[in-house]
């Protein structure tokens, strides 16, 4: 009896293993990967003013030209702010897939800035679940504009530490939370040396190459109570080698030190600036 049972088992075992007539469905099962890393949470390495969790892959050099024009309230006389443009020219270089460094020169305050960015976690699905992407961003900015009385080297420095936490919720929607600490070496008597803020942002993709972005930094401890929180609205157009980002924002600065703590314009008072970032990638 046991023998018959065993024999039947053996026969059917073989039958079930190899009697599938569709060869494709057999091999297809082997293909489902254990973990799928989520890519393209954002199109660019910049959300609008600040950074996104994205880093470029190894040996990628990105040239970024950013503009924030003058106050739109200047009207036709100021060509809606175009006459008073300030510019940041930047170079980002990806040393590894996870580690990027960059430098930039800003016309506003004649700042030089350098940053390092490290991707700590990458959102993954499948067997190995990681719910969010996590990137650390740290930067130093050095103001070179001549002042009276003259400041020392130390007094011109400001430092930023930031965590970027993002989740791609669907292929169209990504959200980012970005706590940030900015330290100013020298401030006026009534100002705080340390600014703590929480940024929130996101993108909504319309079509394959177009997305709408929003970014807002809320200060918990402000540099100066007369200053404002930075809000920016914009859209990305991805053309392949370039990413065009057009936006409106109340911040004239393009580095964290500037837009987190030193935004002097009120968005809802109509003091907004047009701006854009253009990135060009080179694979070295």
């Amino acid at each position: 009896m046991r023998f018959i049972f065993l024999s039947l088992l053996l026969i059917f075992n073989v039958y079930f293993l190899y009697a599938q007539d569709d060869l494709l469905s057999q091999i297809d099962q082997d293909l489902d990967p254990e973990s799928v890393e989520v890519s393209s949470t954002f199109k660019g390495t910049r959300l609008i003013n600040g950074h996104s969790v994205e880093t470029r892959s190894k040996k990628n050099l990105t040239f970024i030209i950013s503009h924030r024009f003058g106050n739109i309230r200047g009207g036709a006389y100021e060509f809606f702010g175009m006459d008073g443009a300030n510019i940041r020219l930047g170079l980002d270089y990806a040393i590894t897939d996870k580690f990027t460094v960059g430098i930039g020169r800003n016309s506003l305050g004649k700042h030089l800035d350098g940053f390092a960015k490290y991707r700590i976690l990458r959102q993954s699905g499948g067997e190995k679940q990681i719910p969010v992407s996590l990137t650390y961003f740290g930067s130093a900015a050095y103001r070179t504009v001549r002042t009276e009385p003259e400041r020392t080297f130390q007094q011109n420095l400001a430092f930023t530490h930031q965590l970027l936490i993002a989740r791609k919720i669907s292929s169209a929607i990504s959200l980012q939370l970005m706590p940030v600490w900015v330290h100013y070496n020298a401030v006026s008597v009534l100002e705080n040396n340390d600014v703590f803020a929480v940024g929130v942002g996101g993108r909504y993709k319309i079509g394959k190459r177009f997305s709408v972005n929003i970014e807002y930094y809320h200060q918990i401890q402000e540099l100066n109570p007369d200053y404002f929180n930075a809000l920016a609205l914009g859209f990305d157009i991805d053309t392949g080698g370039h990413i065009f980002q057009f936006h409106i924002t109340n911040s004239a600065a393009m580095i964290a030190k500037g837009f987190v703590g030193e935004t002097t314009d009120d968005f809802f008072g109509g003091n907004i600036h047009l701006g854009f970032n253009i990135t060009r990638n080179f694979q070295l």
Partner: protein, 256 residues
């Protein structure tokens, strides 16, 4: 060859394929003596160390008992079944999980090449059916951003993660695959990319050797047929027709 002997042979063979069970047979007792090794009573081949080598005495007794039980008719049938199932196993499809698929887009501004070396291919020599499946995310490009754009903007691999092909070798004759040589066959089937299925007829070249069947193919894919849109303004010029090559190496003798 009696069944107890066959069984013994299988045991010896499993242990050491080079052994000669007749000479080193631990069950005949003639060339074997017992000795005590670390407190375990063992049987060792006196002539040389080939074959089973030291086998704990109790284990060897168990093997002997089982081997005698196998000598009846039931067991004979059982062995037959076992052998036949092994036979069926050998007729299952040949699968290569490390196949290579590559596409090449030639355009005035920039040539784009991508390679996927994790493509899975299968060929069933019992009926001549073939199948290929691969993840679009496994395509690697020279420039990393190309990979991102490929997945995000062109093939939409979030929505359509795989490309597949299933088809049949026309005028299939299994005998072609049993003798070494180089052969060309026509294959007809369905190619699915970007969620769109189109018929595909192509030639495959098969290099049959004793150990493996190497299969290569090359065909042209018209991007528009798979509803992959190429925008008018792109800085990477992308060809409307892409040359695809694929190669698989099916090992017919997995032990080698």
């Amino acid at each position: 060859m009696s069944y107890p002997y066959l069984f013994k042979f299988l045991v010896c063979y499993a242990k050491d394929p080079n052994s000669n069970p007749r000479r080193t047979d631990p069950f005949n007792g003639s060339d074997v003596h017992q000795h005590c090794l670390n407190g375990i009573v063992c049987q060792t081949d006196v002539n040389k160390g080939t074959g089973l080598g030291p086998v704990p005495f109790l284990v060897s007794r168990y093997i002997r008992r089982v081997s005698y039980q196998l000598a009846d008719l039931k067991s004979m049938l059982f062995v037959l079944l076992l052998v036949s199932s092994v036979h069926l196993y050998a007729q299952g499809p040949l699968i290569d999980k490390n196949g290579t698929a590559r596409f090449y887009s030639e355009a005035p501004v920039e040539n784009i090449e991508a390679i996927n070396d994790k493509a899975v291919g299968a060929i069933d020599l019992s009926n001549g059916s073939v199948a290929v499946s691969m993840l679009m995310k496994d395509f690697e490009f020279e420039k990393s951003l190309m990979k991102e754009h490929f997945n995000e903007n062109y093939v939409e691999s979030d929505k359509y993660p795989k490309s597949t092909f299933k088809g049949k070798i026309l005028d299939f004759d299994a005998r072609n695959f049993s003798k070494p040589g180089s052969y060309v066959f026509k294959v007809s089937g369905e190619l699915t990319i970007h969620g769109v299925t189109n018929p595909l007829e192509t030639e495959i070249q098969c290099q049959v050797s004793n150990e493996a069947i190497a299969v290569t193919t090359k065909f042209i894919v018209a991007v528009a047929k798979f509803k992959i849109a190429i925008p008018k303004i792109v800085f990477y010029n992308i060809a409307e027709e892409v040359e695809v090559t694929a190669s698989f190496n099916f090992k017919t003798n997995p032990s080698k």
